[in-house]
């Protein structure tokens, strides 16, 4: 699995549960190191061990943790750069939802060996959407629920999200837009390049 994905989890654990928790996880998962390199590729098995150990360590199911990882990726100050890249998707939350169709291509443009599963947005009504997450990365749809929730806050939209089982091989997330301009949201300045 790509180092960026492993590093996202590492960064989340350290920011949320502290450095010592992360050290215990790396120890118990028998990594032999404490720091993932963002630009190296690791065996999938390594990432799976980390998630298993982490889930046991903090006593929470993996899907729940991954949802929080998704939220962390967008809303934590550590991750401002990533939030900005997602905000390039569009000026409104609905535009952002539509831009998810291109997300895996956009990611590949930036980091050519980072392959994320394809996403497909289905517009059921003006306020009802389904996001279909292709298989290939276990837990990806959980992370996406967290990302969608945090991005709604970022745009100031009020949404209801639910994980709605499967459609063929894809996992389905249902997005109900209650109010597109519920709050101010966070400012996005095109020209303020992230540090």
């Amino acid at each position: 699995m790509h180092g960026l994905i492993n590093r996202a989890i590492q960064s989340f654990v350290r920011a949320t549960y502290g450095r010592s928790c992360w050290l215990r996880v790396t120890e118990a998962a028998e990594l032999g190191f404490v720091e993932f390199e963002a630009m190296l590729i690791y065996d999938d098995d390594v990432s799976i061990r980390v998630m298993d150990v982490l889930s046991a360590e903090i006593g929470r199911p993996k899907a729940e943790i991954l949802e929080d990882v998704g939220t962390y990726l967008v809303s934590h100050p550590n991750m401002e750069g990533l939030r900005r890249l997602l905000r390039f998707g569009g000026g409104t939350y609905v535009e952002f939802l539509h831009s998810l169709d291109d997300l895996s291509d956009r990611v590949r443009l930036a980091v050519s060996d980072l392959a994320l599963p394809a996403l497909e947005l289905r517009e059921l009504s003006m306020t009802g959407y389904q996001l279909l997450c292709d298989p290939g990365l276990p837990g990806y749809s959980s992370v996406m629920v967290g990302v969608l929730r945090a991005m709604a806050d970022d745009y100031g939209a009020l949404v209801i999200l639910s994980h709605d089982g499967q459609h063929e091989t894809a996992e389905v997330i249902t997005v109900t837009l209650v109010e597109s301009a519920f709050s101010e949201g966070r400012h996005f300045d095109l020209g303020a390049r992230a540090e």
Binding site: L4, E37, A38, M39, L40, G81, L82, R84, L85, F88, G90, G91, R106, L109, A110, V111, F188, D189, L190, G191, A192, R193, A194
Partner: protein, 329 residues
């Protein structure tokens, strides 16, 4: 189509257009372009008062501009910030003026910051937002790669340093010495090579054990480092054998006095766990300047010959290869 229809069409398609009349006065301006100069009403101004044509230089009048149909123009604002723009002129029929479409080109990175532009300021088909996305995404990816490279470089230097170091004494090892000698002989530098052998070391090792032997080697190493200059190379090249390379030093008197000091200090008894260890040192020295085209092997051999002479002369003394060769002649 009348001018008004044309203007509203252009507003949708290219938010940075200008419609100028035959005299070069701006009749209509796209909303994004106007946003760049909030305090100057573009409509009514003369095109050439607002913009300077950078390329082609020869175009300084409106008729000349009109003749540039389809050609790529490079312009700048006359006033600050002097954002660079690219432009294209399309003259209207019957000499009624022209449409000039402008865009940022590479200046877009500064322009979005200078003018606080948003995605709404660009046409839906404009690649500006994708370009900005790519710049940020690639910069982030590059930064991650760069930090990995730095760490790998650090690890490589540490590994190389280790590979050139004798782990017991912290001195350079034989590999490092070979490397250094090759470098010095290749670059034709003048230097002295001292070959130092600890006398009676084997007996310390045999009588008091390896721990005592190791201690003596470490103390000897420390003395050699202390008695030499920072850019001299001190290497442990065998069990109790050392080579010291003095770069740029070929004065025999100086070398002899360094050797005397080394011998004097290495002769002092060392105490290891209440046991006294006695060693001494024999030294042979050769100079690169004694050979027309010095080679590493040759120099090592010459220093060796001098060292054996020192041993034959009763140990604990220093011999120069030069005196040896004179004796041989």
């Amino acid at each position: 189509m009348n001018t008004q229809d044309l203007a509203s069409l252009l507003e949708t398609l290219c938010p940075m257009f200008l419609l100028i009349d035959e005299k070069g006065d701006i009749r209509q301006a796209g909303p994004t372009l106007q946003k760049l100069r909030p305090n100057i009403p573009l409509v009514g101004s003369s095109f050439l008062d607002i913009f300077e044509l950078i390329r082609p230089r020869t175009v300084t009048t409106i008729p000349a501009l009109m003749s540039m149909a389809g050609a790529k123009l490079h312009l700048k604002f006359h006033d600050e910030p002097r954002t660079a723009l690219k432009g294209l002129v399309a003259p209207l029929q019957h000499g009624e003026g022209a449409v000039i479409n402008l865009s940022f080109g590479i200046s877009i990175l500064d322009a979005v910051r200078d003018y606080a532009l948003t995605s709404a300021d660009f046409s839906g088909t404009d690649l500006a937002i994708e370009l900005l996305y790519l710049v940020e995404a690639k910069s982030a990816a590059m930064e991650a790669s760069r930090s990995l490279n730095l760490r790998l470089q650090g690890a490589m230097l540490a590994a190389e340093e280790k590979a050139y170091t004798d782990t017991l004494t912290g001195l350079k090892n034989r590999r490092a010495m070979d490397h250094m000698l090759d470098h010095l002989t290749f670059s034709n530098s003048s230097f002295a090579l001292m070959h130092l052998d600890l006398d009676f070391f084997k007996s310390v090792n045999d009588r008091l054990g390896h721990a005592a032997g190791d201690f003596v080697l470490q103390q000897a190493a420390r003395i050699m480092v202390e008695e030499t200059r920072g850019d001299d190379t001190v290497a442990r090249v065998g069990g109790d054998e050392f080579v010291i390379i003095f770069k740029g030093l070929t004065r025999e008197e100086t070398l002899a006095s360094i050797a005397e000091r080394l011998i004097l200090r290495l002769n002092e008894p060392m105490t290891f766990q209440q046991q006294t260890c006695h060693v001494s040192a024999s030294i042979g020295t050769a100079l690169s300047t004694q050979f027309r085209a010095p080679e590493a092997e040759e120099l090592l051999h010459a220093a060796d010959l001098a060292l054996y002479q020192a041993k034959r002369d009763g140990r604990s003394c220093h011999r120069l290869y030069s005196t040896l060769s004179k004796a041989q002649q």
